[in-house]
Symmetry: C2
Subunit: 339 residues, 2 copies
């Protein structure tokens, strides 16, 4: 159905009707000039914003509208998670070209609200407008952290243990599978689906982050991995004037990634170290707490691995591989939109 038939206000109704909370936390919600809400006592507000642009971040031939709605919120949830925050209110701006019709937007909305519902995020406002060429999506997400305990990039110390959640590299390999449909990949249907899903419908680590806030271990710094392990670890190093040593044997990867890399003669390390959009959490903890961290998360819904240590030398970023050979990996760069 064409958007002309429902108009701007009809579209807003459709985008917001899935807001499935019986008790809105807003004093003033959608339909006024601003959303108005009361911050919880003793909390700090945390805010992030991320844009997804057609042909740059996604192509409609390789992602479904449902996944796109999901992902546009997921990437923001991942940022709130990185601070140890509880997400609360989302603001969605859409620039809609004529090739996106009402059916498309209904599916988009379902994906967005399915994830929002999972973490009790309320769509609190936004802007819907036409776009001449490309679909433009921007989400701003507001959450809360305890004034006494939240995480950021700064805080890591020399010798701190370095941890990561989940597996690395799946998203980047999934994207490559999507972008090269003509290439004769050797990959099982299951492995293929798993890698692609990590790219198209990532699961933000909100619950793990909340557990890191409430558990009895000290977290000294945290970041989410969106630009690739090497680059995001570089941000932690820079913020603390430290270096880091990664342990190749400990870098977590999925059986799917290892199998597809082996079958197609690819180096898994390039995906694990340099691949973007993992949306896993990378964090540090004093080395004396390392075992406590691993024990605590042994039975968590997502795995936690120690992958290295922080070093005193600023800018030193190395990988220790087989036979304890240590190589410099400073040159592995993540994605830069303008380079």
């Amino acid at each position: 159905m064409d958007l002309k038939r429902i108009g701007e206000f009809g579209l807003i109704d459709r985008l917001t009707k899935r807001n499935g909370f019986p008790n809105s936390k807003l004093d003033i919600g959608i339909g006024d000039d601003c959303a108005v809400f009361k911050p919880s006592p003793g909390k700090r507000q945390v805010v992030t914003t991320d844009a997804l642009i057609e042909h740059i971040h996604f192509n409609l031939s390789t992602i479904t509208p449902y996944q796109l709605g999901w992902k546009s919120l997921a990437v923001n949830l991942s940022d709130i998670a990185a601070m140890g925050g509880v997400p609360r209110f989302a603001f969605l701006s859409l620039g809609i070209p004529t090739h996106c019709d009402v059916t498309f937007l209904d599916s988009f909305s379902k994906g967005f609200h399915d994830l929002a519902g999972k973490y009790e995020v309320e769509l609190a406002g936004g802007d819907t407008t036409r776009s001449l060429n490309d679909l433009f999506i921007n989400v701003t997400l507001i959450g809360e952290v305890s004034s006494k305990k939240f995480f950021c990039r700064k805080g890591a110390q020399e010798d701190d243990a370095l941890f990561v959640s989940g597996d690395l590299g799946d998203s980047a390999l999934g994207l490559e599978l999507l972008q090269t449909p003509g290439k004769s990949w050797i990959a099982s249907k299951t492995a293929r689906a798993q890698l692609i899903r990590k790219h198209t419908q990532p699961e933000p680590r909100v619950n793990l982050a909340r557990e890191l806030v409430s558990c009895n271990v000290k977290i000294t710094s945290m970041i989410d991995i969106s630009d690739g392990l090497a680059q995001d670890l570089g941000h932690i190093c820079k913020a603390n004037s430290l270096g880091a040593q990664l342990w190749e044997q400990e870098l977590p990867s999925s059986p799917a990634l290892r199998k597809v890399c082996r079958s197609n003669n690819l180096n898994p390390m390039s995906y694990i170290l340099g691949g973007g959009e993992d949306y896993e959490l990378l964090f540090t903890s004093p080395s004396k707490d390392a075992k406590k961290v691993l024990r605590h998360f042994q039975k968590a819904e997502v795995s936690v691995s120690q992958i290295g240590v922080m070093l005193a030398s600023p800018k030193k970023l190395t990988l220790v591989g087989e036979n304890d050979r240590e190589v410099n990996i400073n040159s592995i760069k993540g994605f830069d939109h303008f380079k």
Copy 2:
């Protein structure tokens, strides 16, 4: 200069360096996954977001990058003003096509920060990315209102007096002047510049709104005029199940608008009632307070006019003109992006 030379992080540095506050109000600012700040005690948070998209909201042939930076913040400031809020933190997302170079973005940034500085708004975060075709701009603005006194669309009563700030219609006529360069307009250089400036570099009514909060008159509802007087008044009517009567003789218009309309045989009412992007404030007050309101704002930096009254009949929207003739103006519609 090409963006490739400075890269994503170089661009972020350039966009943020103008943040001219010696004392940042942020606990964590740009460079982390989220901004973190402490809400002021006893305040509610107010949030708005607006997207500006090339070829839809602006054309780079008729607006300078400086004006575009200014305007992208101004439209959001206007929404915060409509709630009676104090703006605090801005989040800027940019999707940048190759035709926007570093010089363009420096000017954009100057326009943005010149207005931000005027109202002590701090750029607290954002997202910068490439765009294939069009320039995308999204701004989210967070402010605060007193928990005890803030404005929204709901609250107007039958017989309430209806007020508007400034002059109406200039922006719409200014846009028409810009869009029809080939047409032989009869317009003085000064009038032309004044009308166009109202479109390209609007002045949000933040100070007036703050005065409405602190002064001793009761404001029952408020909205900013972005879609045109008739449509935005329609929103107030709908929110309160009321109608409204406008007084043609009292609708404020600038000498420039009246003169250019007269010289070019145009009906000023179509701009005053239906023209969008005025970014003036439309508000209601009990009729017994009407004189007090007018007296209070007699010497304000921007004029305030009573332009009509609220009516009991829902959906009734009329204009009383010469000889007390009353005509229905329900059919005047503002802008709908999808119709």
